[in-house]
């Protein structure tokens, strides 16, 4: 039975996990100190005959200490988080060689448009699939997320990536798979009566495997798609509102 974060399968997932563990250790320590202190006080200062509570109204030094320490810790956490966050979400930091993939969603279906051997979307060799996405390990991908009806959320737990898909917007998210295998893709935002079964599978292939799969789709057998610089430039950035 698994009950913890699944094995990471993306390039930045390790950084996300690292911040998670840093926060876990810090909050775990604070938890032990506070709850431990509470327990000690409850036992040590429990009501006893003849005891009188100390008549104390406070202590300014103590107030300053427990104001400053949390402030320093959270500022540090914010700085650490900011680095990873901008790597993942800031369009300025997206890899330039990312292969574009069209992800159009509607209740309760994922529609993937993957480029054919030319590495470009919107050409004749595009491969269209419902609820299955095929990728090559070690390549950068940029998914262009659009929705036909309501808000859905593109969630690949193994990649540590979640991005809402909002009607009226084209939102781009990127990732680089680092492990081969089949991974679950889930809709994470309540989107109606079939929300619970709005799932897809992400197949991460080795380059050879992918070539074989691509051939089976009727496309000429060449190397895995190579992205060109123009693909990145043609992509809409978040908030641009256009659709492809």
């Amino acid at each position: 039975m698994h009950w913890w974060i699944p094995t990471n399968a993306s390039s930045y997932g390790g950084d996300v996990d690292r911040i998670f563990y840093i926060i876990l250790y810090i909050t775990g320590f604070v938890f032990l100190v506070v709850e431990g202190g509470l327990l000690v006080f409850l036992v040590r200062y429990r009501r006893r005959e003849g005891r009188t509570a100390a008549y104390i109204h406070g202590n300014n030094t103590a107030e300053i200490i427990w104001t400053t320490i949390p402030a320093v810790i959270v500022v540090m956490l914010a700085l650490l988080s900011q680095k990873v966050w901008s790597t993942v979400k800031d369009p300025a930091h997206f890899p330039a060689d990312a292969i574009p993939i069209g992800v159009h969603v509607k209740q309760f279906e994922w529609q993937f448009t993957m480029p054919g051997p030319d590495g470009k979307l919107g050409t004749d060799d595009d491969i269209f699939r419902k609820n299955e996405l095929h990728l090559v390990v070690g390549r950068n991908y940029a998914v262009q997320l659009t929705s036909q009806d309501v808000i859905h959320s593109f969630f690949i737990p193994a990649f540590r990536l979640k991005q809402d898909v909002v009607p009226g917007m084209t939102i781009v998210a990127w990732f680089r798979p680092i492990l081969t295998g089949a991974f679950d893709l889930a809709c994470a935002q309540l989107c109606g009566v079939g929300h619970y079964r709005m799932q897809a599978t992400v197949y991460v292939h080795s380059a050879e495997d992918f070539a074989r799969w691509q051939t089976a789709q009727g496309a000429p057998a060449t190397a895995a798609p190579v992205a060109t610089d123009t693909t990145m430039g043609s992509m809409a950035m978040p908030h641009s509102g256009g659709t492809r």
Binding site: I56, H57, T67, V74, A78, I151, F155, D184, L190, H195
Partner: protein, 582 residues
């Protein structure tokens, strides 16, 4: 009597009560009656919300099997007792709606602000008793309309208590039309009730404090309720405005949130969470206030760092308006904005830890009496710490990207609103029950209730953190559909069984409440040996509260003052030492 003049009306002198029965018990303008009315109403809604949670947990623990006793449900909800996905979504929506708007919020503000503020500040009643009466009576249609959704064509609202547009905009997306409209109208009426209450609490605290009751002598419960009222006054109109626009989208064909007509789905989220985050503090600040009073009393010690406690309440409230975007990190909002909301959110850890450490400081070198309210206050403190710490995970943008919309968030909110708000509400009910009804609650039953609730509460909600870390999405009708979630199903079963036991653990409370109401022993004048003004008048206090307006000489936390014969020193006792109370 006119509302404005009421508090100084001659008819309000304590002891003279010739109101007809209907004005006395039903359409009463007496803050105490209204507080008690809110108590019965919010506990009823709490029970309803709890029952909905039980059905949700049945489906999650044992998906696709008939709910025991579920055959009484109509086929549109659960044919043969097996819950439909649409009914599940409706339950999830209404559980959140009822718990937040109709159970916990009226339980904390409706009950305790109404009952305690005038008594604790030495006033005969609220500043606007009639508004106060309206604030209660509006809650009845609000709750009823929300509940009515279950019985109309298409079922109740099913777009979550957050009602994200455009899911909530159109029956095209959910199959719900009348139910969603009823939800909107119910929340708008609830908003009116909340606003009437808020202006009243604010006006009362500002204007009706007894002589000598300076701001820095106010009990922290009153401070917290006062600042909560300001929060509600500023936040609730935003919600009402947002919902009125949603209603227009539904019935008038406007496009505020519909991209097809140039609207913005994210506008709803900005408006909703601009209300929604302060709302979390509306639900927790009164709890912090109640617990501060109870912990000082239980420890027989002055509250540690009173001034910083007051400023921390203000700090939490102020920051509360600058952090709403932390609910929207992955919404498609500009990621740079996400960073600024992360920074402001992280800062909330500062005033929050001030409060936690000051509560610990209050117990330090105290003489701790483990009475039932104190046990619940300790329950609050230990559980709120977990809820506060788990919030830091969500505040960190990269981690939130993973745990957003998972059971981690469900665990967090329940540690804050059950572990926090509800334990404090129980502390408050046990503490002021003797004041409200003149009778004591049964001590042993109270201890059993606390102990069982504490254990099963943790067994229910702690494993949800693990589900969330495993990637388990919230609002998911059948988790076993997903290959990566199916192996975690034993945790879901465990959580469900614990939840049923948690519900059962409330039976001693219900029994104790009603038994004590009629059979409890008569309460002494000051059962907890407390300093606050409400314990200087009989229980229950007469109409008009004080025979003579009290004069206040000191703050409410003067416990164990050296040289005093007793370990408490009431606020209205004139000279510091060796003086008999009169």
């Amino acid at each position: 009597m006119t509302a404005a003049a009421a508090p100084h009306d001659a008819g309000l002198h304590a002891g003279h009560d010739d109101r007809p029965w209907l004005r006395r018990y039903v359409f009463s303008t007496d803050h105490k009656t209204i507080g008690i009315q809110f108590l019965f109403l919010s506990l009823t809604f709490l029970l309803l919300g709890g029952l909905m949670a039980m059905v949700i947990r049945w489906q999650l623990g044992f998906p696709g099997t008939p709910v025991p006793g579920g055959s009484i449900l109509p086929d549109a909800m659960a044919p043969g007792g097996v819950i439909r996905p649409s009914f599940y979504n409706a339950l999830v929506t209404m559980h959140g709606t009822f718990m937040i708007f109709f159970a916990v919020m009226p339980l904390l503000t409706g009950v305790f602000a109404n009952y305690l503020i005038p008594l604790k500040i030495g006033a005969p009643d609220m500043a606007f008793p009639r508004l106060n009466m309206w604030s209660f009576w509006l809650m009845i249609p609000a709750g009823t309309l929300a509940l009515a959704g279950f019985f109309v064509e298409g079922g109740s609202a099913a777009s979550g208590w957050t009602a994200y547009a455009p899911l909530s905009n159109s029956p095209l997306y959910t199959g719900v039309s009348a139910g969603q409209i009823l939800w909107c109208v119910a929340i708008i009426i609830f908003g009116a009730s909340s606003l009437l209450g808020s202006v009243n609490y604010i006006a009362t605290v500002v204007n009706l404090r007894a002589p000598g009751m300076t701001w820095m002598r106010l009990p922290l419960s009153v401070w917290a309720l006062f600042i909560t009222a300001i929060l509600a006054l500023l936040a609730v109109p935003i919600l009402a405005g947002a919902i009125i626009m949603l209603l227009f989208d539904q019935v008038l064909g406007t496009h505020f949130y519909l991209p097809t007509g140039g609207g913005q789905p994210l506008l709803w989220q900005h408006l909703f969470w601009f209300f929604g985050h302060p709302e979390v503090y509306i639900l927790i600040l009164p709890a912090m206030g109640i617990v501060s009073d109870v912990i000082a009393n239980g420890s027989r010690k002055p509250i540690f760092g009173y001034t910083s406690m007051v400023f921390a309440i203000g700090g939490i409230a102020g920051l509360g308006f600058m952090v709403w975007g932390h609910h929207m990190f992955v919404s498609g909002m500009n990621p740079t904005l996400g960073t600024s909301f992360m920074a402001s959110t992280m800062l909330i850890a500062v005033p929050t830890s001030i409060k936690v450490f000051n509560w610990l400081g209050t117990m330090w070198r105290g003489n701790i009496h483990f009475h039932v309210p104190m046990l619940n206050a300790i329950g609050f403190l230990s559980m709120f710490v977990i809820g506060g710490l788990s919030g830091i995970f969500m505040a960190a943008t990269p981690v939130d990207m993973y745990i957003h919309d998972t059971y981690f968030i469900v665990a967090h909110i329940h540690y804050v609103l059950f572990g926090g708000s509800l334990f404090a509400a129980f502390a408050g009910i046990y503490y002021w029950f003797p004041k409200m009804f003149g009778r004591e609650m049964h001590d042993g039953l109270g201890r059993w209730h606390f102990g069982l609730t504490f254990v099963f509460y943790n067994l229910t909600f702690f494993p949800m953190h693990l589900l969330g870390l495993g990637g388990h999405m919230r609002r998911l009708y059948d988790p076993t559909q997903y290959p990566f979630l199916a192996p975690m199903q034993p945790i879901n079963v465990f959580v469900s069984v614990s939840a049923f036991l948690l519900m059962a653990a409330q039976l001693p409370f219900v029994w104790n409440f009603f038994w004590s109401l009629f059979r409890g022993p008569k309460a002494p004048l000051n059962p907890w040996r407390d300093n606050s003004l409400e314990w200087t008048v009989p229980s229950p206090p007469p109409h008009g509260n004080f025979v003579e307006t009290p004069t206040v000489y000191r703050g409410p936390y003067e416990y164990s003052v050296p040289g005093e014969p007793e370990d408490f020193l009431p606020q209205d006792r004139p000279a510091p030492a060796r003086q008999e109370a009169h």
